[in-house]
């Protein structure tokens, strides 16, 4: 069965520092991978997605992620964190089952930013 692991429950970084959030997946077929962000009181917003092609994908808000098939990873990065990036981040893999294309999510990583 498919699964997504986000090993870090909570990360704290200083504003202006670089950021890397880890994501590992387990899925038998070619994965369709997503990163979502959830800010307090708001719905999930898509940051970026990977389906095929270039393994380094660019997203919104200055985020990028790199797909590494050999490591089954899809880590999210940002070179310089802003205070407004404080939120919870979810990695997800799209799987097909019983006629649907549901998302399987990791448990999330909460990001705190120190001014």
């Amino acid at each position: 069965a498919q699964s997504v692991t986000q090993p870090d429950i909570h990360i704290t970084v200083s504003e202006g520092a670089s950021l890397e959030l880890r994501c590992n997946y387990s899925y038998g077929a070619t994965p369709y991978l997503f990163w979502y962000v959830q800010s307090p009181g708001q719905g999930l917003q898509l940051l970026l997605k990977y389906f095929s092609g270039d393994t380094l994908v660019q997203g919104i808000k200055g985020f990028e992620a790199e797909f590494k098939r050999s490591q089954s990873s899809f880590n999210l990065r940002k070179p310089s964190v802003h205070w407004s990036d404080a939120a919870e981040y979810f990695c997800a893999v799209a799987v097909s089952g019983a006629g649907s294309y549901q998302l399987t999510f990791g448990k999330g990583t909460k990001l705190s930013v120190i001014p």
Binding site: Q6, A94, G99, S100, Q102, L103, F105, K107
Partner: protein, 116 residues
């Protein structure tokens, strides 16, 4: 344009009562999903609609949970005889069907359910 909307935003109920949660998807989106997010957990898939049929109900945790959808619009998730473990944020998402696994799901703000 309008996104996915859900109501109510918050619902507090007593154990044993029934609750209905509503989702209004983006107009034209044929696919609709319900997810549940319990405290400290990722989102769990509950049910999927294609139009008004539900080909995938594999995530519904028990027969107390049911959902319906009117045409390609509003969906209602009903939880009967609520239990404290049902306390969670219930999220709805919609997407175009044609993109398959690549389809972007647009999420609503969720309904926070608290069962006392």
């Amino acid at each position: 344009g309008a996104g996915v909307s859900q109501s109510p935003s918050n619902k507090v109920t007593e154990k044993g009562k029934d609750v209905e949660l509503r989702c209004d998807p983006i107009s034209g989106h044929t696919a609709l999903y319900w997810y549940r997010q319990r405290l400290g957990q990722g989102l769990e898939f509950l049910i999927y609609f294609q139009g008004n049929s539900a080909p995938d109900k594999s995530g519904l945790p028990s027969d107390r949970f049911s959902a319906e959808r009117t045409g390609e619009s509003v969906s209602t998730l009903t939880i009967q005889r609520t239990q404290q473990e049902d306390s969670a944020v219930y999220l709805c998402a919609s997407s175009f069907w044609g993109s398959g696994l690549a389809a972007r799901q647009y999420f609503g703000p969720g309904t926070r359910l608290t069962v006392l």
